[in-house]
Symmetry: C2
Subunit: 218 residues, 2 copies
């Protein structure tokens, strides 16, 4: 029985880490669909989001079963609680990738993002995908050092997000109100995506140490 | 012992319902600070957000203790899991009210919102505050009918949010890019605030029925 229990805990962590890979791929494809105005890729991200929602529901179901049948304590209980939170965060990352793909679809065949802004979104996509993949590795390894690194990695996203607003507010912005609103909301989706990856890593710190790291800036 | 256990469950629900009242007040004040460019009120919302974060941490601590010491099953387990999720949602509602107050502070003594847009924010504030208060009542009463009502109430917020974008995209918009970006992000904060109130109510449906209602539009 004990083996099965440990196997169930491992399976739960493995589901979550797999979800991280799924939302990393979703954001990679969503970013490509945004930058290349690729409708087919946007549709793929949109239809695949349901799979991520299903894995989340199944992870919650596993967590509920573990709590009800095994009554875990100490570290094991923290694993299950972190998984409940993590599943919510990672599902939300999928939703945010979905929003990016929906923006690409809404403006197709036009591009949502003016050409000179594209390099920023390329970079935000790269940083976001790397954060999601690293969160997955942290779930698998419980590597505290890597978990803490995510907060520093997220600073790059915050800088890109702030810089984007400087560009938008510049009096040389010539793309009009509609493009500015699209860019502002898209930048926020990437920033929130990164925040949720950091939240996942922080929960792993809590699993290992029993303490949440200090307050997260909002 | 059983009494203490039930008392602890009730106390947890009561903490969460109290958080709903706190974030309702935060959004009421944040909206007033936004519409009246009231810096003092904005500062009050900003400083009070830490209290909400503390109540959330304490609710999670209570939930952890209940799981570790009482190993609840069935409805009681659903109550604790719903509380863990709910505390996260309600804390996020506080963060979103905080973002509204921060926008008011950032542009002070100017108003963030052009005069003719103010009625929409008045209305979004009213709808948001009502949703938060109703979520608190649903937590206290476990009234399924009221829980389901929240989804319909949220439609009013979605309509306001959509309408705001129509106004922004209108070629008669004369307030420039910066104001448009502010208004778009603010409208999104209100919409997300309402979504989290709905999520809290949906968790109460799960507590009572054992089933989550159908998928939530994202």
């Amino acid at each position: 029985m004990r083996d099965t229990y440990q196997e169930q805990l491992d399976e739960l962590a493995s589901s979550l880490a797999g979800m991280c890979d799924d939302v990393a791929r979703a954001m990679r494809n969503a970013t490509r669909s945004l930058l290349d105005a690729d409708l087919q890729l946007a549709e793929q991200v949109i239809s695949e989001d349901m799979k991520i929602d299903d894995v989340r529901a199944s992870a919650e179901h596993q967590a509920f079963g573990l709590l009800a049948l095994q009554a875990p304590v100490a570290t094991d209980l923290r694993v299950v609680i972190a998984a409940i939170h993590g599943a919510g965060d990672i599902e939300r990352m999928g939703d945010l990738a979905l929003h990016v793909a929906q923006a690409a679809r809404r403006r197709h065949p036009q591009s949502v993002v003016p050409d000179e802004i594209k390099p920023y979104f390329t970079e935000m996509g790269t940083v976001g995908v790397a954060l999601a993949e690293k969160a997955g590795r942290v779930i698998r390894s419980r590597d505290l050092e890597a978990a803490v690194e995510l907060e520093a990695d997220d600073d790059a996203m915050d800088d890109l997000h702030k810089h984007m607003f400087t560009v938008l507010m510049d009096s040389n912005w010539t793309h009009g109100v509609s493009a500015a609103v699209d860019v502002a909301l898209l930048a926020r989706f990437y920033e929130r995506y990164a925040d949720h990856a950091v939240a996942v890593a922080r929960r792993i710190v809590y699993v290992v140490t029993g303490q949440m790291p200090g307050p997260l800036a909002v």
